[in-house]
Symmetry: C2
Subunit: 504 residues, 2 copies
């Protein structure tokens, strides 16, 4: 007999199997980025595309819609915070999104973004925006169509943002970002005017890859990364992939003449990994066992990378060990020098290389341009000028070429509009969560300074990780912090930190 | 309109897609053996089992049968050596085999062998045959049932052997093995009576893993392994897996106090890999693009490991480089010492550790016991006695316990009956092929001694690799050598080599 209960069981079984299949594609992706020999690329692309098609077919099958409808009409979901309610709500969101996009559209988007990506790679090499412009035009037309197919209440940006940050809206993002912008621009100005410069040359000494790896591994393990259920490998573009419960892998790359990349990169990916390792293992494949959004995911990576990893407390604990491993490399470097060097603030052209303060301005300008491009207030042809003007206005510098300007990011070429804001949402959530954790845990700095990270991780596990998609990102953060999303915590944190370092 | 041509195209497309899906399972298997963190095991098993089920479902779909029938009744396959004929014939063989086994039976066999495997692991640890015996009994009952389901002409062994060595029969194997047995036993006796002993302690010096790896990589690349289309990694059980065209991976393990394992192991796996790398890339997923049998596959690995890798010619080329890499390790070791050490012949208990001569006697006794177990001439309870008696008779030694006797191999616990003979078939084919290559290529030893392996590899590519499953294994070998399968070439080779080393 078919009952809502049997429908829900069948739905869970199907979702679990679809995730299992999807997770095999993730193993292939990891392998492709780490160990696959070059000549394997052609068939790897075919394998991945086959699996993607199968996952899509299985997830968009009418049967999933029938099962959802059977559960939705039942008392199974009367408690909105129950597993059943959250799983049903979030599966419905993804199902509607997936089924509203006709496969002809999905294929066309995939075809265009694949070609656009190649065009972007070439255009960036020669800093030739004109070569990329026609592709950007095509992609914007397609993204508008996607937004209309998915559905929205007037602002197409919302439909795109929702893919990465469920329930978030352009209005919501804009309100917080605007309260951030002026303060950050002012803060950057003060820092530049302070006349103080961080001794960054300390980080540019010779750091053998093996020693960087040793330190990164020790730090990752110490903060809580479970190497029995994960790995650290090398790839050109660092990433974290939570394959299945029990198997979360991170990567990094080692630059022997710069300490910052690998170490803080590993802490960043470790933050992502701790979230994945903290998800409810028994709910694998179901929304309540999945990360809630890119913004919250990024809050975890940025917290461990920056709020923990670039704190005085952390290096009180870890600098002695770092000196020990590096031998004479840090001779003559004081604890204060080191702390200042790893917290250098300086306007720069490349988002991924920028510091905690200026990073958000990079994100804000992208969000503003994306909104304008989608609405038609900005044409693709005008992007380079608009970009450079905003960089001048926010950061006080002028990109010397488009490769270090509007061609620097991969996102648009891949059709990822609405993705950028999640980076700054991550920083905002990180600061608010860290502040709340400090309130709840007492002497958080003291704990970190003594190498005790379990209280913070335990707090995050309980407040964030274990809930999966039970709540919306904003609701989850509200429950953890008791506050609405705002720029206050991040600004407080940045002002305090830079105030001390730059005497402002 | 449906025509035999459109049916054949659809069949090829389906087979290609099924192989693509199967190849993702192979990536997962490789990852599991090399890099997967321990806690990933549970979900990995689920991923693999899901993919296996999907591959089975897709391959046994009625549509495949319809397509096969449409092609079989057409003129497309009138030339029996055409791609279409070979692909149709071999797909029919696999399709019938797969569809004749009800899924309930397949699941039961999978369940029993999974439990039996665990029981075997424990039983071997404590050398406790009684603990494994009930599982062996269950498996034999199931393997008889499998043989009957698959179909045979009176000897169930044929139906099992056919899975690994298409078209081979127990009678055919027995005839050749019997002509081998007496001669090998006699040869082992003479060697033991010669009073000469190889200076094997040379191989037991300290060989740092990094140097072993360097030499193994150089040798593999030199004989033709394409590292742009493959990898060498470490795993507990060495293997080769040809994932897709352009991606063939081998593994090994390093024992720092024994030179033989890794180096000859890598040459062995390289032999397998050269076959995979030499298959017709355009026929991926189709029988004419697949290896013809385990026996022929093993002929490639054993040829490069033994007939090439343990030859005087090879070490004339490679010993100077080996001495260079190893530094003082080989001080005082003459070329003759080295050659004798790596060609030591001595009866031993463990098949996988045995030399070129005694190895085949290990295989012969397993084949004899398997046949007797399946026919009922031997009961599982009598296996230990029968095993030990044969070891005494063939090798003149008595296993001190069952772990070093009838419990040493994994095969039976996994239900692999009919697999063992392919090892010796591989040695027989290797010797015959090498003899034929020498006839065709002229001064093969001279080529090898000068580090020129391309002629031999080219010969194998043309005679074996590029044909895939176009011919049966015996027919393929007949075309390459001009001779029927026989023990003569292997015996000639072993007699000549040991005759010189042991003065017999």
């Amino acid at each position: 007999m078919t009952t809502p209960e049997t429908s829900y069981e069948e739905l869970k079984k199907s979702l679990r199997e679809i995730s299992l299949l999807g997770s095999t594609a993730s193993v292939l992706h990891w392998d492709e980025q780490t160990y696959m020999p070059p000549a394997g690329a052609e068939y790897r692309a075919e394998q991945v595309s086959l699996l993607a098609r199968m996952v899509h077919e299985q997830f968009t099958a009418p049967r999933i819609g029938e099962l959802l409808a059977a559960v939705e009409g039942s008392t199974l979901i009367k408690d909105p915070e129950s597993d059943a309610a959250a799983n049903t709500r979030e599966t419905r969101r993804s199902y509607d999104r997936a089924t509203r996009l006709p496969s002809a559209f999905v294929e066309e988007l995939s075809r265009v973004t694949s070609l656009a990506h190649h065009a972007w790679v070439e255009a960036r090499k020669t800093s030739d925006f004109a070569a990329f412009q026609p592709w950007l035009e095509k992609i914007i037309v397609l993204k508008r169509e996607e937004a209309d197919l998915v559905g929205h209440k007037g602002n197409r940006y919302d439909a795109l943002l929702d893919e990465y940050e469920p329930n978030e809206t352009a209005d919501g993002v804009r309100a917080v970002f605007e309260s951030l912008r002026g303060s950050l621009v002012e803060l950057v100005g003060k820092i530049m005017d302070s006349g103080r410069k961080a001794p960054v040359e300390i980080l540019e000494r010779h750091y053998p890859a093996a020693k960087q790896e040793q330190l990164a591994r020790e730090a990752a393990a110490r903060v809580g990364f479970d190497f029995n259920a994960g790995r650290l490998d090398v790839s050109v573009h660092p990433f974290c992939t939570g394959l299945v419960p029990g198997d979360t892998r991170i990567t990094t790359r080692y630059d022997e003449s710069y300490f910052g990349d690998a170490f803080f990169g590993v802490l960043h990916e470790t933050g992502h990994a701790l979230y994945d390792q903290g998800l409810n293992k028994d709910a694998f494949g179901l929304p309540v066992g999945e990360a809630v959004s890119l913004g919250i995911h990024e809050s975890q990576s940025r917290m461990w990378e920056n709020l923990v990893g670039r704190s005085r407390a952390f290096w009180k604990f870890f600098l002695p060990r770092t000196r020990e491993v590096l031998g004479s490399t840090l001779d003559g470097v004081s604890d204060d020098d080191w702390y200042f060097a790893i917290n250098d603030v300086r306007p720069s052209f490349i988002r991924t290389e920028s510091d905690e303060v200026t990073y958000n301005l990079h994100v804000l300008l992208r969000f503003e341009l994306e909104e304008a491009l989608l609405s038609g207030d900005l044409t693709p042809a005008d992007v380079p000028d608009a970009w450079n003007e905003k960089v001048r206005k926010y950061l006080g510098i002028t990109p010397p070429d488009h490769a270090r300007g509007c061609l620097q990011d991969v996102h648009w070429s891949g059709g990822s509009f609405g993705y950028f804001p999640t980076y700054t949402l991550g920083n905002l959530y990180a600061a608010q969560l860290f502040e709340a954790a400090r309130r709840d845990l007492g002497d958080l700095d003291g704990q970190i300074a003594s190498g005790s990270f379990a209280p913070l991780l335990g707090w995050l596990r309980g407040k964030i990780h274990r809930h999966g998609k039970r709540y919306t990102p904003r609701e989850l953060a509200r429950r953890a912090t008791g506050q609405e999303l705002s720029a206050d915590a991040l600004l407080d944190y940045l002002r305090k930190k830079t105030g001390e370092l730059y005497g402002i």
